[in-house]
């Protein structure tokens, strides 16, 4: 194995022998495309003309006044399909085309990555199969309808706990059998190398834009970046381009679900080092190494592990990780809706909720990644309240 496949002690390739070659081929194709002007230009054009980049960096005046902070929202919710997931889906679908794969598979939790993948596949003429846990199919029914309309085939995952992690299991099982003609379009900064690096690079457009925008409007770097962390793709997309600026503090907000002493999905706060889906990272597991069934009302955060780069950030103290509960996230959805007229996704609302807990004497300059819009969650929130 060539190259650097670890982030500190985290990451790696913990996969069956059969997947080594497909992963190495993916790595080669990724670096070839990443360094290819034509590929980058094609991707840039799609992101601009099709997906709606650059997204605004919006100064949330009412929210800032209310919380006595200075808050900019990076509006990934305004992208086509309604979340940051399209950045990665378009890029990887182009990669699939360059690798001459005709069939694309993906896993999805909230359905946002599934919709983004189905969209990219429709655009580029690829056959698309999305694995989704039974529980998620039920709680995100609208996204299932969207994917079907876009021509994707939904495979409902009945195994295990029937949520995101089980959808990843099934996608990996499909890939190991069909890799000759199938591209696995993984949606987050998880999985075996090169996925964590590749997805982070494709999402870094968030932070690259935000950096230019904040310097234009404030003539300085921000004090704090804040984003929710499930697998870690929107947060790393925002954080990574600021990595070398040590004055910029990173805060990742995990899902505390019903509370950190009850059912939750806070892998970085409560997990231990372990191996799931091909990577070594923080993992919620029992003492015998069985993966725990985790919980968050936000389907996109309902994952027992976390991207290995976050595990590394934690180990070197580069980022701080915190968690907020379902209730706090729902309160934040209402807060942003009323104050700014923006309905955020439940996932992104976790980051918003943490703003209320920040205490500073001076008003810090904050960029928050508003990773997705909240239309998909309306039923979920209503049900939670009753």
């Amino acid at each position: 194995m060539k190259g650097k496949i670890y982030f500190g002690n985290f990451g790696g390739m913990f996969v069956p022998e059969t997947l080594l070659r497909p992963l190495q081929e993916l790595e080669e194709a990724f670096f070839r495309c990443w360094n290819d002007k034509n590929f980058r230009q094609k991707l840039r054009q799609l992101l601009i003309n099709y997906a709606g980049r650059p997204t605004p960096l919006y100064y949330a005046q009412n929210l800032s006044r209310k919380l006595n902070l200075r808050i900019y929202l990076k509006r990934e919710d305004l992208l086509h399909t309604g979340a940051h997931k399209i950045n990665n889906a378009l890029a990887q679908a182009l990669l699939a085309v360059s690798m001459k794969k005709k069939r694309v598979i993906a896993e999805t939790g909230a359905g946002q990555h599934g919709v983004a993948t189905a969209t990219a596949c429709a655009l580029l003429g690829l056959k698309c199969v999305v694995y989704m846990g039974r529980v998620d199919v039920e709680r995100q029914a609208n996204n299932v309808k969207r994917m079907r309309l876009l021509g994707a085939k939904i495979k409902v995952v009945e195994s295990g706990s029937q949520v995101l992690k089980d959808a990843v299991n099934e996608a990996l099982r499909d890939w190991v059998a069909n890799f000759h003609h199938t591209y696995y379009l993984l949606g987050s900064t998880v999985g075996p190398f090169p996925y964590p690096l590749m997805v982070r690079n494709f999402q870094s457009v968030i932070g690259e834009e935000a950096k230019k925008q904040i310097i234009k409007s404030e003539s300085r770097l921000p004090d704090i970046l804040i984003a929710c962390v499930g697998g870690g793709s929107n947060s790393l997309g925002l954080f990574h381009p600021f990595f070398r600026y040590k004055s910029v503090k990173f805060i990742g907000v995990e899902a505390a679900g019903e509370g950190l002493n009850a059912r939750h999905a806070a892998s970085l706060l409560k997990g231990k080092t372990g191996i799931l889906h091909g990577a070594k990272s923080y993992l919620l597991q029992d003492r015998q190494g069985q993966v725990k069934e985790v919980y968050s009302l936000a389907p996109g955060l309902d994952y027992p592990a976390v991207g290995p780069e976050h595990a590394w950030y934690k180990s070197i103290g580069r980022a701080e990780y915190v968690a907020v509960t379902d209730q706090e996230a729902i309160d934040a959805v209402e807060m942003l809706s009323r104050l700014e007229g923006i309905i955020p996704a439940l996932e992104s609302a976790h980051a918003l909720a943490y703003l209320r807990k920040l205490k500073f004497r001076k008003k810090p300059l904050i960029i928050l990644c508003l990773s997705g819009r909240g239309d998909k969650d309306l039923d979920l929130i209503e049900k939670f309240k009753h």
């Binding site: 069956p16 022998e17 059969t18 070659r21 295990g160 099982r173 069909n178 231990k272 191996i275 190494g289």
Partner: protein, 261 residues
């Protein structure tokens, strides 16, 4: 309980090939697991592969997934498996090997795992999601405790890696017969025996084949070239069908004898 290496030496002297049944520990119950293992030994198994159930078995098809889930619900874990092996090791004349995904071993601690494995007289260990390149500490500890390690070669493994896999393996190398997960297959690649003899000419360890094998005709065919044949899902399906039967052990024994006749 013997070592894998010794077992293959004996078989070679007798010009025989290994029949290696796979069963999930704790399936269908912890108590029946014991009966199953002894029945398999009595029915002529040369080695038994004991699957340690895991919550997320990415290399396994529906049959072993379901068995793993049932076993976990029965409370199966590494602690109980080692207790079992330790208590009964003097009654096993054949090597027993554990197949476990990496996380349960990692959670235990690699050193602790191998110390316990040595005490339990474990014949060998197979980890389907560990490549030799990721297993330095694992292999070091295995050597120090004299537990055999089995790694995999796939149909798409590049020739230049055969040596790495061969050096990391002790006992045998596991040849994955098909692309995909475990579970019964109707057919296999027609060049599979050719491929087998090619790989054998490049390695020093014995080469056993597994994944998808369910019929005595397949066992017989693969024994022409390979040093051993592993049967898992077909056996678990059969156990699932007959375990509530009064004469379960007798039926299981004759099923195994038929497979390996």
């Amino acid at each position: 309980m013997g070592k894998l290496r010794d077992k293959f030496k004996q078989l070679r002297q007798k010009n025989q090939k290994a029949f290696i049944p796979y069963v999930t520990f704790g399936f269908p119950t912890l108590e029946l697991s014991k009966d199953i293992l002894f029945t398999l030994q009595a029915a002529g198994a040369d080695i038994i592969e004991i699957g340690m159930p895991f919550s997320d078995p990415i290399a396994d098809g529906p049959t072993i997934q379901a068995a793993s889930r049932i076993a976990l619900n029965q409370g199966a874990n590494l602690e109980l498996l080692f207790d079992f092996l330790e208590n009964y090791k003097k009654y096993f004349t054949i090597p027993l090997i554990i197949m476990s995904y990496y996380n349960p071993i990692y959670a235990w601690g690699i050193k602790r795992f191998f110390q316990r494995a040595k005490k339990a007289g474990l014949g060998g260990i197979i980890v389907p999601d560990l490549l030799p390149e990721e297993g330095k500490e694992f292999i070091d500890m295995a050597r120090r405790t004299d537990v055999d390690t089995v790694f995999f070669i796939s149909p798409n493994t590049e020739e230049r890696r055969f040596k790495i896999i061969d050096n990391a393996s002790r006992g045998f190398i596991y040849y994955v017969s098909v692309y995909g997960v475990t579970g019964m297959r109707r057919s296999f690649d027609k060049d599979i025996l050719l491929r087998g003899s090619f790989i054998k000419s490049r390695i020093k360890n014995p080469l056993c084949i597994g994944f998808g094998i369910s019929k005595s005709s397949q066992v017989k065919k693969f024994k022409q070239i390979f040093d051993g044949v592993i049967v898992g899902s077909a056996l678990i399906n059969e156990i699932n069908k007959i375990y509530h039967h009064k004469n379960f052990k007798g039926k299981l024994a004759s099923f195994v004898r038929c497979l390996n006749k």
